[in-house]
């Protein structure tokens, strides 16, 4: 059991975001979100200049 929900089978659960600390509009535009807890940048792969190193 997580949070206030009695979890049922065969349905999806997503935790609700709580409004908290936010970045400035300029910082939010640069990052794509004003919410630190939703910011999850991608680490590129397949970028090696040679075939053997990662």
């Amino acid at each position: 059991m997580i949070g206030p929900y009695k979890m049922r089978l065969a349905r999806a659960y997503i935790p609700f975001q709580r409004y908290g600390q936010v970045w400035s509009p300029a910082e939010g535009l640069r990052r794509g979100t004003i919410f630190p807890e939703l910011f999850s940048p991608y680490i590129p792969r397949d970028k090696g200049s040679c075939g053997t190193c990662q």
Binding site: A12, I14, R31, G32, T33, L38, S40, P41, Y42, P44
Partner: protein
């Protein structure tokens, strides 16, 4: 009704032509997991959403996807507009050029035109919201493959912004799904 702002949601400044990259990025314009598919899917599905909150979320995100479509269009156009014909040929864009010159058209990375078959509008809010959450993840993954393919830091910067928006949208659709599931459950009980 919409109000148009005569600027992009995120600025696009591309310094040099790169038709190879344009050919790949255009899939987010007219491909299955692209921004046209996303915006039309949400803006069409909203009529059969059961709550005001769900309708508003689909309207808001569908509207933002239209703004992303415009960003992708600006990216593709800036990457091809000054490209010489020999570079367009070398990039494998000559068949596109034959039909469209350097104009924007809704195709995927292989040149297949957009089709409404990419999207669904099921009349079942649970099914539709799951489709939308999957659509956000597929768009996020596509942006990641495009970031891997990009050799232009200015383009990569825009792709990273668009990718992060998909993450935020997934959360919003997830919260909407929770509310709609609870709403439908309550209707059954009372």
């Amino acid at each position: 009704m919409w109000i148009y702002e005569k600027k992009l949601q995120y600025p696009v400044r591309v310094c040099r032509p790169n038709p190879r990259l344009a050919k790949e990025i255009i899939t987010q314009y007219g491909g299955p997991d692209g921004e046209l598919s996303a915006s039309l899917r949400y803006l069409t599905q909203r009529y059969t959403m059961p709550t005001g909150q769900a309708i508003a979320t689909l309207t808001d995100i569908g509207t933002e996807e239209l703004a992303h479509m415009e960003i992708v269009a600006a990216l593709v156009y800036q990457l091809v507009k000054d490209a010489p014909l020999h570079e367009i040929k070398e990039a494998g864009l000559s068949s596109y050029y034959a039909d469209h010159d350097r104009a924007l058209y809704f195709v995927n990375a292989s040149g297949v035109p957009w089709t409404a078959a990419y999207i669904q509008s099921k009349g079942d809010p649970i099914a539709d919201l799951h489709e939308n959450m999957a659509a956000e993840e597929k768009a996020r993954a596509t942006y990641e493959w495009l970031i891997n393919l990009s050799d232009d830091p200015d383009v990569t910067d825009v792709l990273k912004f668009l990718r992060q928006r998909e993450v935020v949208h997934f959360q919003r659709f997830g919260e909407t799904l929770m509310r709609v599931q609870d709403y439908l459950q309550c209707k059954k009980v009372y």
